[in-house]
């Protein structure tokens, strides 16, 4: 597991959908940095100008609902966000984030406590979110063993590569 990382929080509400994370008019590219230029522009048009590399998006319930576009977690990565903390995630966004390597943390208590501008420190190995501004620390429920294994292998692409190699050997 990687070491701790920190950044400033940008707080949004419930049901942040993939159409506002990356509007469909930009889905003519799947380039991470190109998509990153338009991240969150239909809900907060200055987001990419005011945020700094390493900052975090914090939101309420059902973050990433709507379309299956993997461009949504790619846009968030491309903008330079280090992770997303939410009370809950929509299921396709959840899978996509793991697959493209965007760290996501499901923690209703942290999502409720953190406000825009708060300094937040994440300890992935300890499974904690610290709101340094408010002096509060929250425990994140771990991923299921299957997903932990997938993440440990470097994500879905290395996982599939290994599975294909195993099949090649057994043939």
């Amino acid at each position: 597991m990687s070491s701790t990382f920190s950044g400033k929080a940008w707080k949004y509400g419930d049901h942040i959908d993939t159409d506002v994370i990356i509007p469909a008019r930009h889905l003519v590219s799947s380039n991470e940095s190109e998509l990153g230029k338009h991240c969150m522009e239909d809900i907060d048009k200055d987001f990419v100008h005011k945020m700094s590399r390493g900052d975090m998006i914090v939101a309420g319930e059902n973050f990433g609902c709507g379309s299956s576009r993997e461009h949504a977690p790619l846009a968030i990565k491309g903008a330079g966000c280090s992770c997303v903390i939410a009370a809950s995630f929509a299921r396709i966004f959840y899978r996509n984030s793991i697959n493209v390597g965007l760290p996501i943390l499901e923690c209703p208590e942290a999502a409720a406590s953190i406000e825009t501008g708060d300094e937040v420190v994440i300890d992935p190995s300890g499974g904690t979110i610290e709101n340094r501004t408010k002096g509060k620390t929250f425990k994140v429920a771990p991923f299921s063993p299957f997903l932990q294994d997938l993440i440990r292998q470097g994500g879905l692409i290395p996982y599939v590569r290994r599975r294909l190699e195993e099949r090649g050997k057994s043939e």
């Binding site: 003519v28 590219s29 379309s67 299957f146």
Partner: protein
């Protein structure tokens, strides 16, 4: 405890027990991508070191979102997907033959009862109308399926949904699913499945069932499945591209809960801006003025939808100041609507008829909204900026409500412009 339909389907595709909450490796019957998700899936596939898709007859690429291509970037993106599909020998349908994936694939018999279907598009859940476990994923997950013929699925808990009584003909599948989402919210079924069954849906046409399953994802669901019945099997058998085995829930299946609707208490409804769960009876929405009407999309671009709208608009004119855009979801629908004279009804009323495409539904092309404009749409999402400007407004409704609104220029309950006799002819009585 018995199995729900989704658990029965997962168990039939896995060597695991497939009890609720378990993550299972499952065999996939069919896997597809579109012109937005296909090219990144192809790139991930190659990055995985994969050489051949698991079965070219079970993998498909459908260019349906920006169709025909709207600009150079979308043309390049489609070209990448097309070249990959041709090289792999996968199923591919060219512009002029292809339809919106979630209407076209069931028509062509590639989505069948008992199947597991994975699509790189969130509205893949539409296939649930046929009693398949059909669900959307992103491009990398889809690439993994193309490479392995398998994916991982967690067995979700299920909410059972039943409708009681006799459905009046002004209540469409769209009113039924919007009523459900309005009741349980856009995350009411998050990480769950919806299972539709019961006597109230026995006479519900397949096209309405597709509409209902299509919007399961708008309640956060993994999929929305109809328990197969005579209508399902008749539809599937007449079109099947391969053999299939329908599956059913056990009588003692365990559900999170059952949501029951009584047709007698239902009215035509609309989802007001900016959420699919902001649902109200159309007559209680204050009749807002509108600039555009869109009739189409994977939600409501099938023949029964086009027919209902055409009959509603027959001999009438689209109101001054309103643009009405009609897009049949496939050429099967387009040609049937042409043969029945519906396309002429639309153009004589002053509506536009376009070639099958997702088009305006996702703010792609063919009817983008300017700031301050309002549209009544038969599509499935009314998020901020979905059809164009983030300052535009979208109201989701049935084809009957959309067509009635096109004629009056305001959001209108279909019963306020059509007679009881009209509704009788609608159901072919």
């Amino acid at each position: 405890m018995g199995r729900t339909l989704v658990s029965a389907i997962i168990a039939a595709h896995s060597s695991q027990e497939a009890m609720e909450g378990e993550i299972c490796q499952v065999k996939v019957d069919f896997a597809f991508a579109n012109d937005i998700t296909g090219a990144p899936a192809a790139a991930s596939f190659l990055e995985m070191g994969a050489e051949k898709v698991f079965d070219p007859q079970r993998c498909a690429f459908l260019p349906d979102h920006f169709t025909p291509n709207k600009d150079i970037a979308s043309a390049e993106q489609t070209k990448n997907g097309r070249e990959f599909a041709k090289k792999q020998g996968m199923l591919y349908w060219e512009v002029g033959r292809v339809g919106i994936e979630h209407a076209f694939l069931p028509e062509q018999g590639y989505i069948l009862p008992g199947d597991i279907i994975i699509g790189a598009d969130s509205h893949t859940c539409t296939g649930g109308a046929l009693g398949a476990l059909s669900t959307g994923v992103g491009s990398t997950d889809l690439a993994a399926v193309w490479a392995l013929g398998e994916t991982w699925l967690k067995v979700p808990p299920t909410i059972r949904v039943e409708f009681k009584g006799k459905r009046p003909s002004w209540i469409t599948g769209k009113d039924m699913i919007l009523s459900l989402i309005g009741r349980i919210s856009v995350q009411g079924a998050r990480y769950m499945a919806l299972e539709f069954g019961g006597e109230g849906i026995e006479d519900l046409p397949m096209d309405d069932r597709f509409t209902i399953a299509n919007m399961a994802v708008e309640a956060g669901a993994k999929t929305g499945l109809f328990v197969p019945d005579g209508k399902t099997l008749e539809y599937a058998r007449s079109r099947a591209a391969r053999s299939f085995t329908p599956l059913y829930p056990d009588r003692d299946a365990s559900y999170v809960r059952t949501e029951i609707f009584d047709f007698e208490e239902m009215t035509p409804v609309a989802a007001m801006p900016h959420s699919p769960d902001n649902v109200k009876p159309v007559r209680e929405c204050g009749s807002p003025e509108i600039d555009q009407v869109f009739i189409g999309a994977c939600t409501n671009g099938r023949l029964r939808d086009i027919e209902a709208a055409a009959k509603m608009m027959e001999g009438k004119k689209v109101a001054d100041g309103v643009r009405c855009i009609v897009i049949p979801a496939s050429y099967e629908v387009y040609n049937a609507a042409m043969d029945k004279g519906y396309l002429r009804t639309f153009t004589e009323a002053g509506a536009v008829v376009c070639t099958p495409t997702c088009g305006p539904c996702l703010g792609g092309h063919m009817g983008i909204l300017a700031a301050g404009e309002r549209c009544v749409s038969t599509s499935n999402r009314n998020f901020v900026g979905r059809m164009g400007s983030p300052k535009s407004e979208l109201i989701l409704a049935s084809p009957l409500t959309a067509a009635a609104s096109a004629v009056t220029g305001r959001l209108t309950d279909p019963r306020d412009v059509a007679s009881a006799e009209f509704f009788n002819t609608l159901e072919g009585k």
